[in-house]
Point group: C2
């Protein structure tokens, strides 16, 4: 009997061309293509129905013409939550919920399903697997606990603090009895930091004519751990305010992503005088610790000891605007795109 | 019976005023003062006769008007080797040889002799206690072994490689079976690196129009450990050439010391993509390991397995020129000033 091949229309978000400067909605287009819902026999591939897509700052660098960039003319890719609807892989079953790298489209053929994480816990919002229970969660976990080596009572500063990662770092730091200060780009975000995430202090960097003064006001005794999300001027001013043997987990430098020429860091000499350790990392490095992380964080979510704010855009047609909104700070909390309710 | 007080003339090197830009000989003056050769009874102080003074790049920062600066109108201070000629301290005896912080003068009153290290081994040149057996030695030791965490066979790059610290780092790295490349500022120094210190490769940074290309030529597989002595453009180009999980012990940034406005580091984003650890340190942090270091390094010196090149200026009157020569790279090897043969 011949294989039954079901082909359906597939809405996709296409990158038109490499982007310089701030990305615009017109750098993307929506296209409707077709896709077979069965993976080819013997291919070890799977076909998924995408439910949630994740908008992450690192995606800006993939819009540039460099290693690992998106392919102009093709749908972009990123983290997402999806339901398996076709499988030729022995370890993946139809009906499984997964998170991992998928396409910005309604349905995706995934040729390396080994890279997907199977979702076992569905008593929490599925969208969390693009955030607190996904890559941003592992970023905050690895960066704060492993790279940051926090000690009780230390002074912690987080930039982009209301974002997907920052809001978690701040809450992890509070759970560790640290004094936590965050910066963000609007009054609404600053209020969120203090009222919802329990930051001890917060400031709107756009309203501070002198970041050095803002840091000294909020952290008069200096900073033990700076969780670096933004780079640029903020990093330079933080270096002046670090304490002896401070640590700077370098997670991102989002202030630099849309610049053709990066700003320089001028105060690196502070690394010597204060014996600072500055260390870059990515979530991937900590993926082997994911089960351990879930054991820690799931009870905290269930008991309401940790909270997670998402900004959910509905529909693939709104995905480009949601993605580029990240770079002007339009989102409040983790930016997600809902592609389909099941 | 009244205390016998012997007062002698004391030639001193005075900083006239704070220095901006490149220091000049005229920023210093020689003055002859008087000093009592007895420490005041009950003072716990000692009086020393200075034998060797150490010229070190960090001293440039002390010529600036900032915390820890020299006092204009007074003799400058630094590391030196000296003989104790008067002591009111129970643990320091007349005749002891010591190294530590002393004045740039013939005789110094030292009010905190606890900071001095007693010299126990005199079968090696005494001047070595300003270099391989003193602060620069501990800098190379702590920076390379502790901060750098070297593994056999790794690729190591050292800037200012023929200097007081760099020549040691290169030799330590060779003893660890690393592949070692150094940069220096003249053909003579580059030859020294290859012929005397056993560097696998070396280049004259002043003759390289493109430092990125020079690094790629000498280290086509990239750099695991960059021992950072110079900062500026070199750091930026090294960042592009670091390997995954590379380490950058930050010892100094001498290219920046004479600039009123520091150059920026523009390639810090590489910290993330390559998971680089960049960590500042100073020798002081490792002084508790000094006995362990001596146990390691003294046999290496005695067996000729490690060598140390010094550039010795004779006489206090030549001390200012020797010191400022550091900042134009005039010295070949560790710059020392011989104040007195005993």
């Amino acid at each position: 009997m011949a294989e039954r091949v079901e082909e359906v229309s597939n809405k996709q978000v296409i990158l038109r061309d490499y982007v310089s400067g701030f990305p615009k909605e017109s750098d993307f287009e929506l296209r409707t293509s077709k896709i077979r819902l069965n993976a080819a026999q013997g291919s070890k591939s799977v076909v998924v129905k995408n439910l949630y897509l994740s908008c992450d700052p690192y995606m800006r660098n993939r819009m540039r013409n460099s290693i690992g960039s998106f392919t102009p003319g093709s749908p972009i890719t990123g983290y997402g939550v999806a339901r398996v609807i076709g499988s030729e892989h022995p370890n993946v079953k139809i009906g499984d919920l997964v998170w991992g790298t998928t396409g910005w489209e309604e349905y995706s053929l995934i040729t390396e399903p080994e890279t997907l994480f199977k979702i076992e816990h569905t008593d929490v919002p599925l969208s969390y697997y693009t955030g607190i229970l996904g890559m941003p969660g592992m970023t905050a976990y690895g960066g704060f606990y492993e790279v940051g080596s926090p000690k009780e009572g230390e002074y912690v500063f987080v930039s982009a603090a209301s974002g997907a990662v920052g809001q978690l770092v701040g809450q992890f730091a509070k759970l560790k009895n640290c004094y936590v200060v965050g910066s963000a780009g609007s009054k609404e975000k600053v209020d969120l930091l203090k009222d919802k995430f329990g930051f001890d202090e917060a400031f709107n960097y756009k309203e501070e004519p002198d970041l050095d003064k803002a840091l000294k006001r909020c952290l008069p005794d200096g900073i033990d751990i700076y969780f670096e999300n933004v780079g640029g001027k903020m990093l330079d001013m933080v270096l002046l305010n670090m304490r002896l043997h401070g640590r700077i987990p370098v997670c991102g430098m989002s202030s630099q992503y849309n610049l053709e020429e990066r700003e320089g860091a001028h105060n690196l000499f502070c690394l010597i005088t204060k014996r600072i350790r500055m260390e870059g990392f990515t979530a991937f490095d900590y993926y082997p610790m994911y089960p351990k992380y879930l054991d820690m964080v799931l009870p905290l979510i269930r008991e309401g000891k940790i909270t997670y704010v998402e900004d959910i855009a509905e529909g693939l047609e709104n995905a480009p605007a949601a993605l580029i909104g990240l770079f002007s700070g339009r989102n409040i909390g983790k930016q997600v795109v809902l592609v389909a309710r099941e």
